[in-house]
C-alpha cells in the first residue's frame, strides 16, 4: 500500500507531541500524524469526518490519559461505544504506569497500553515498537466508505 498510515495523536503537551513526531521522522517511519490537544477536540475531530471525507479517518489513535476538557478514559469509552469509531485501534500513550490506569483502560477496550519514555532515544523505541506491530504486520480496519472513496478517486485520475 502506498497510502501512508494516518495517526491521530491526542496530546495536550506540545513538547511530548514534538517528541513523538520527531521519533517517527528520525526513524523514517512513514506516517501522517494529526494532533489534537484535548479530549473534546479528539471526539469533535472524529465525529466531524463525513463518510465522503473518510480518507481522513485515522488508522490508529495514540491517546494520552491526562487531558483537558475530557480525559483520555472518557474519550476511549466514547470511541469504543460508537458503532463506527469502535473499530479504530486506540493505543494509550501515557506517563502513568498505575495499575488502575492500565487495568481501567484495558477494561474500556484500549487496544494497547504504552508508557511514555523519558527521552528522545527511548521514544525511538516506542515508534519502532508501534511500527513493527501496527504498521507492518497488523491489519488495520479501513471503513468500506473509505475504500469506495479511494476507488472512485483513482478512477477519476
Amino acid at each position: 500500500m502506498s497510502i501512508p498510515t494516518r495517526v491521530l495523536l491526542v496530546e495536550d503537551n506540545p513538547a511530548d507531541a514534538d517528541l513523538v513526531m520527531e521519533a517517527f521522522e528520525r526513524e523514517k517511519i512513514s506516517v501522517v500524524i494529526d494532533i489534537v490537544q484535548d479530549g473534546q477536540a479528539a471526539l469533535d475531530y472524529l465525529y466531524e469526518l463525513e463518510p465522503e471525507a473518510s480518507s481522513q479517518r485515522p488508522d490508529i489513535i495514540l491517546l494520552d490519559l491526562n487531558l483537558p476538557r475530557k480525559s483520555g478514559q472518557e474519550v476511549l469509552a466514547e470511541i469504543k461505544a460508537d458503532a463506527s469509531l469502535k473499530t479504530i485501534p486506540v493505543v494509550i500513550l501515557s506517563t502513568s504506569a498505575l495499575e488502575e490506569d492500565i487495568l481501567g483502560t484495558y477494561n474500556l477496550h484500549a487496544n494497547g497500553y504504552v508508557t511514555k519514555p523519558g527521552n528522545l532515544r527511548e521514544y525511538s523505541k516506542v515508534a519502532h515498537g508501534i511500527d513493527d506491530f501496527w504498521f507492518n504486520i497488523a491489519r488495520l480496519p479501513r471503513s468500506p466508505s473509505w475504500r469506495t472513496y479511494t476507488d472512485q478517486d483513482q478512477k477519476n485520475n
Binding site: E99, I102, L103, Y106, G129, W134, P141
Partner: protein
C-alpha cells in the same frame, strides 16, 4: 516482571502450531506458550486458570472446531474478568469483513498468517516488539497474580 510472558495459542492446525512455536524459538522470544485446539477448550482453560497459568496474551485463530474464534472473542470480551487479556487474531483470513467484525468485538489486534516459515519470523518479531517489549500488559490481580506488597 522477571517472569516469562505467558501466551495462550488457540489453534486447531498442528502444522500451524509447529510453525508458530518454532518461530518463537528461532527468534529467541522467551515466552511460555500453551496451546489449545478449539474455542471451547480455550474457554475451559481460561475459566480454570489460576495465577500460574493465566495468559498475558491470547493468539486466536478464527476458524476453529466446536466454538469458532469470533464466538470465543465475543465471550471473552464480555467476561468481567477475562476481557482485559489482550487478544490478537492470527488467521489466514484476509477478509475485510473478518477484520472489521473482530475489531468490533474488541480484538486488540489482527494479523494474517504468513505463507511461509521465514515470514513467520517477521510476525513473531512484530508481536514481540510491541506486546512483549513495549506494551504494558494488564497486571494480574485479585489472587490471580503476584500481589503488590
Amino acid at each position: 516482571m522477571g517472569q516469562e510472558t505467558r501466551v495462550l495459542l488457540v489453534e486447531d492446525n498442528p502444522a500451524d502450531v509447529d510453525l508458530i512455536s518454532e518461530a518463537f524459538e528461532r527468534e529467541k522470544v522467551g515466552i511460555n506458550l500453551n496451546v489449545v485446539r478449539d474455542g471451547q477448550e480455550a474457554m475451559d482453560y481460561l475459566l480454570g486458570a489460576n495465577k500460574h497459568t493465566r495468559p498475558d496474551l491470547i493468539l486466536l485463530d478464527l476458524n476453529l472446531p466446536r466454538k469458532d474464534g469470533r464466538e470465543l472473542l465475543a465471550e471473552l470480551k464480555e467476561h468481567p474478568k477475562l476481557k482485559i487479556i489482550p487478544v490478537v487474531i492470527l488467521t489466514t483470513s484476509e477478509s475485510e469483513e473478518d477484520i472489521l467484525v473482530t475489531y468490533k468485538l474488541h480484538a486488540n489486534g489482527y494479523v494474517t498468517k504468513p505463507r511461509n516459515f521465514s515470514e513467520y519470523g517477521k510476525v513473531i518479531q512484530g508481536i514481540d516488539k510491541f506486546w512483549f517489549d513495549l506494551a504494558k500488559l494488564p497486571p494480574q490481580r485479585n489472587g490471580n497474580g503476584p500481589q503488590i506488597s
